[in-house]
Symmetry: C2
Subunit: 209 residues, 2 copies
């Protein structure tokens, strides 16, 4: 497994200190709260306390909880930058590249918090569910399957997403030891053939779309 | 695909009318609320309103929200009855039998509500997460993998669970059309080889346990 973690350089850029540092501290506290408690139990007051700032500052920077959520839950990667890195290259290895990308995202604490926060919130909140559905149908999985010029791209994309979302839950939310403690490169190898088959192999679809 | 929906006869038994009917009406309202809103946003008062009963009756029957949750989230099947129906028979078809069992459970509205309610709640609530972890590590998936006498049963079980939980989310919570509108027998065929490989085929585990 190579060290490609799928994090584009742009999201690693540091922010200047001062007001940007405060803003980032608020976003970090919000991400941790959304990931730990979900959207409902997260409050502006609680995030302010965790970030060590006045609640009014959150209103000043973000307007309110909904806008704070949108900003905190922004994807930790840029799909347009990630897609070519998965699509290009040996088609027989595409499942492995997608698996390595997903596992790599979860290895980085900041991107893991954002992605797990989205999944967690999506399970009970319609706004967050839309974010995750967009990632499947519009931003990442469907464009990936469509680029491969295979029939039933939408179903293939949704199946890949189902394996990756389920793995995130069992590994990072339920933390079942057999997956939670396993080496990410190993886990990527375990699911790579699944993604490969869903994406590109012959599948028993009943109609071609 | 046969019509086996994995629901043991016991859970189909009707309850006598009168107080048992009221109790069941409360449980149904609770299941719908837990599935739609999660544990946090569900209130005894709201469930009472949905069930058309006095909130005091819920306290009378169940004691409070936590006990109501435990009772409402009881598995819609008995693992000891289900396990033999998946384990016994052609080993080359075990992935297909497990897939058919999962899809069958979701076809039945009552068991789907309970299972989706558990998954939804498990993503944000530690008590519900324990329920789901128990289903993986103790009640269903791990016993299934162990019965097959293959190495790395725990990892195999957790991988199967990850695919099934992820599918439940994409199909029944996010409702991505390519999976949500597909025929359950077709979806079972799409994931059956994944489960078959995770359960019983050679897998690149780095150590045998």
């Amino acid at each position: 497994m190579n060290s490609h973690d799928g994090t584009p350089a742009a999201s690693r850029r540091g922010r200047r200190p001062g007001s940007s540092g405060t803003r980032e501290a608020i976003l970090n506290a919000a991400r941790q709260s959304f990931a730990a408690k979900g959207l409902d139990r997260t409050t502006v007051r609680g995030v302010a306390r965790d970030a060590g700032v006045d609640p009014g500052l959150i209103t000043h920077y973000f307007g309110g909880k909904a806008a704070l959520f949108t900003e905190a839950m922004r994807l930790p990667f840029t799909p347009e930058e990630v897609l070519p890195s998965i699509i290009e290259g040996d088609r027989a290895q595409i499942g492995r590249r997608l698996a390595a990308f997903a596992l790599g995202q979860w290895e980085n604490a900041a991107s893991r918090e954002r992605l797990i926060g989205i999944i967690r919130a999506a399970c009970s909140d319609p706004t967050a569910a839309t974010l995750l559905r967009d990632l499947i149908e519009r931003d990442l999985f469907a464009p990936l399957a469509r680029a491969l010029d295979v029939p039933n791209a939408e179903a293939r994309a949704a199946l890949c997403a189902s394996q990756i979302v389920g793995l995130a839950i069992v590994r990072h939310i339920l933390r079942v030891p057999a997956l939670a403690t396993a080496d990410p490169a190993d886990v990527a190898e375990w699911i790579a053939p699944t993604l490969q088959r869903y994406l590109i192999d012959d599948m028993p679809f009943t109609e071609e779309t």
